[in-house]
Symmetry: C2
Subunit: 518 residues, 2 copies
């Protein structure tokens, strides 16, 4: 991963000439190149301390060089990128430690507990909510616990259709290992190419195929975790009545309760057929109602997304191009995966339902275009940042009856904070019987202090979300950025419960201090 940009440096793309004119018209082109040559502050950990770590994982897996530490600094939110582009590496860890296996992770945590060193578990580094910038005051230093060596497929049970994966596997690596057994996880968030299995679990990730494969937390049937006070090994059955579901306490714990060292997930057979299509709806409301009807009829495709009028007009839901269109309505993308028989049956049933509900089929082209560009938007953000356009996203979820209000309130909050020149786009990409997510993308001309500019908009939107009774995050997790609103969402007693669990598992508070727990 590039230290100042998303993803694979080789995959970075400049804005096409055709788009530059439109961007100039909308925002006015600026030249905002990233600073070069920045180095992190000197490591606060001396060799005496680090020798303890070296004894656990081997000297070659305790890294203190500037380049490695720079690459483990913060995540990939737009504020993270803006800081990195400005040469600010103040949050760099003092060392990067790469344990291999549960026992080594446990030993690293014991070392950190003993020496009061803060630990930030690091998987793919794709966090967009400040979850990788832990508080370091009060600690002797801060290490990034890099799971890069824990990339094994530990077990496959193709009777039960489960697989046990190590946390450091990136999305494509996990899929490749499973594909050798004819299996798939079916978890494809936008961060898929870089995010890790451990990160999916620790943040309750949700992928673009969640309508068909479910959220990541719904796929997990078991997990192991290392904590400073001992191991957890959970998951004795798909579901049970043996007390509270402690798996659901570790899922979403964002490295603050323990380090997830393996995850046992439900897997499916690799689909034989994949088909993606577009549908046009006269309005966001009409399209949303159709999604609700499908979800409540138990008639979901594998992929189901709907862009609002603005998002449809800007890019016809294709993040890889910038273009306009006259009243295109709202674009829905439907995708079907499975055996030929399954795809045909579900596609027929969904097509009949959507037609009856007033949708206009647009054929496979919009679907195929979406598939091609599905992981590309973060690269586009970098190109726009180069030209002085501030681009960022935020997301929430609510029950269906509250969708209209939440959409209007968040849009008004963002526009109010950023001014009329801001573009505010929205889509629905995760649906349930009782509700759905809303995902907003914002683009606005960068002012002198773009971080403060975004933070004001983000605070206004977050206030609107909580005021509307919705969740501060459907799939981006809490990190540090959402913490104040998360505290409002779960209430004072909820916060105390989280603190009590944290104090029990991590009495010295070394695990991702300042992340998640208010």
């Amino acid at each position: 991963m590039h230290p100042q940009r998303w993803g694979d440096p080789a995959a970075a793309t400049a804005l096409p000439e055709s788009a530059l004119g439109l961007v100039d018209l909308a925002f006015g082109l600026q030249d905002r190149p990233a600073a070069t040559g920045a180095t992190p502050p000197p490591s606060a950990l001396d060799d005496v301390l680090l020798d303890g770590l070296r004894g656990i994982v081997g000297a070659e897996h305790v890294l203190v060089d500037d380049a490695t530490r720079a690459l483990r600094t913060r995540g990939k939110s737009t504020p993270d990128l803006l800081r990195a582009r400005a040469g600010d590496l103040a949050d760099a860890p003092d060392a990067v430690v790469r344990p291999d296996g549960h026992a080594e992770v446990e030993a690293v945590l014991a070392w950190a507990h003993e020496h009061r060193v803060a630990v930030v578990p690091f998987g793919g580094g794709t966090c967009v909510t400040g979850g990788l910038a832990a508080r370091r005051d009060g600690f002797a230093g801060l290490v990034s616990l890099d799971l890069v060596r824990m990339k094994r497929l530990l077990a496959v049970d193709d009777v039960s259709m489960t697989a046990t994966l190590q946390p450091g596997l990136r999305g494509p690596e996990a899929e490749a290992l499973l594909a050798a057994h004819g299996l798939t996880l079916g978890h494809f968030p936008q961060s898929f190419e870089h995010a890790s299995i451990g990160g999916f679990a620790a943040t309750r990730s949700s992928g673009q195929s969640s309508a068909g494969y479910g959220r990541f937390d719904a796929m997990v049937v078991g997990l192991t975790a290392a904590t400073p006070t001992g191991p957890l090994d959970l998951g004795s059955a798909p579901a049970n009545a043996a007390g509270p579901d402690l798996r659901q306490l570790l899922l979403g714990s964002e490295g603050a309760f323990g380090v997830i060292t393996s995850v046992t997930v439900r897997v499916r057979r690799l689909p034989e057929v994949r088909a993606y299509e577009g549908w046009r709806w006269p309005s966001f409301d009409a399209g949303s109602d159709a999604m609700r009807t499908l979800a409540q009829a138990g008639l979901l495709p594998t992929v189901l997304r709907l862009s609002d009028e603005s998002e449809t007009a800007i890019n016809l839901a294709d993040p890889s191009s910038i273009g306009g269109a006259d009243d295109p309505g709202c674009l829905m993308v439907t995708g079907y995966e499975g055996t030929g028989e399954q795809v045909a049956a579900r596609r027929d049933a969904v097509t009949a339902a959507l037609t009856r509900l007033g949708g206009t089929p647009l054929g496979t082209e919009p679907g195929d275009k979406w598939v091609q560009g599905r992981f590309h938007a973060p690269y586009l953000r970098d190109a726009l940042l180069d030209h002085g356009v501030l681009v960022e996203t935020l997301e929430t979820a609510t029950f269906w009856s509250n969708r209209g209000r939440l959409y209007a309130d968040v849009k008004a909050a963002l526009t109010g904070a950023l001014g009329e020149g801001a573009l505010v786009l929205c889509h629905v990409s995760h649906v349930y019987e009782t509700g759905c997510s809303l995902y907003f993308t914002v683009a606005v001309r960068q002012g002198d202090d773009p971080i403060a500019q975004w933070q004001a908009a983000k605070a206004a939107a977050s206030d609107a979300i909580i005021a509307a009774g919705a969740t501060i995050t459907h799939h981006h997790a809490v990190g540090t950025d959402h913490r104040p609103w998360f505290a409002e969402e779960v209430g004072e007693v909820g916060v105390r419960v989280l603190r009590a669990v944290k104090a029990e598992l991590d009495p010295a508070g070394i695990l991702n201090p300042g992340v998640l727990v208010p």
Copy 2:
């Protein structure tokens, strides 16, 4: 509810003459009538203390009479019934308090916290794992917090398809209120006629239609709870990434963390059509494999059950009759509920799949017979206890690849402990993509100390369950009976987490002491 028997005294049935001979042949008829005229020990709570409670809920809702206290003594496991039949009311509460609404529940808990009085939340009283017999030593007394006055449907959202229910609603009461809106919860455990919404939530109940409607915990999208240290109000969206799912910490908490004061559940439209059928399989293995295939193909009916050879032979899966048959194979019951179109489509698809897998259709008679008797088995148990036959059930769940081993090991443990004269029957009634439940019914001639007789068998079976890596309970909860094995299942760190949550929410430990938390 009868203090010594299951359910409605008017619905009690004697064994038919035809069955008596068979029972005599198998076990030898004995006459074991229940004792009469027992009274609970005097209340340990004096009027000065109780006046505090009276001030909260009104004098008419603080009951200390013997009959009311006797009716709130323990639950409905066979050991519970055997104790009640022997006239043992030692576990009777000192008073029964009936608060109305969240604020009164909170005030009762504050009173109990202040005066160190243990509190047992009481819904339907159908617990079969000792969850209503809390420890009283170290406390000034013990009150049963009866939710009988909290029976309102608080809200219906028929856009989001959710309903908010108070915890004291019994199954049929909740269904009747929802039916007035054309809705159903679809939750029909065997205890349905008497168990409560709060109990379903507090124990992670699973109903006989779980294949179609899901487990109760999967239906819950929100809940409120009163704790001695403040209120919890959880559920901002169907699902989210806002930290650990704290709903899943209260679900399954069995009154040990707080009293659930409302539950918001996903509801469905009342089915227009219901159809139930029977299928014959040559073996339990073949039938189980067929269930697995359906679950993994996403092709589940609303109801899906399979009796093993023994259960099929004994009663053709009909708990209301006792009869034999020569090699009937294994009976599967499939049920379909929904619109006519949904039922037809699903029935066709499942029928094709089961036929292909080697099942023999038996038409609707076995299905209809199962429907008629679905809530009747506990009445039959009383009739058999009258005749000196010890009848009890236990259940577990595991992943599919472990089903065969778990079945064999538990069966061997039960037969080993109870002797060759014991009948050990089993069925699968809850399936998932990755695994299933196993539900065992045992019948054996009562010895001199039938409670000790059962406890030895239960311990042997529980040891076998944990040794096989399965769960100590799929849907009966932990109570006090499962606590030692539950502790093994979640491990030392898991136990510490539960204790920490308990200490935070209930620092005086007044809530259901000795239940759930090891």
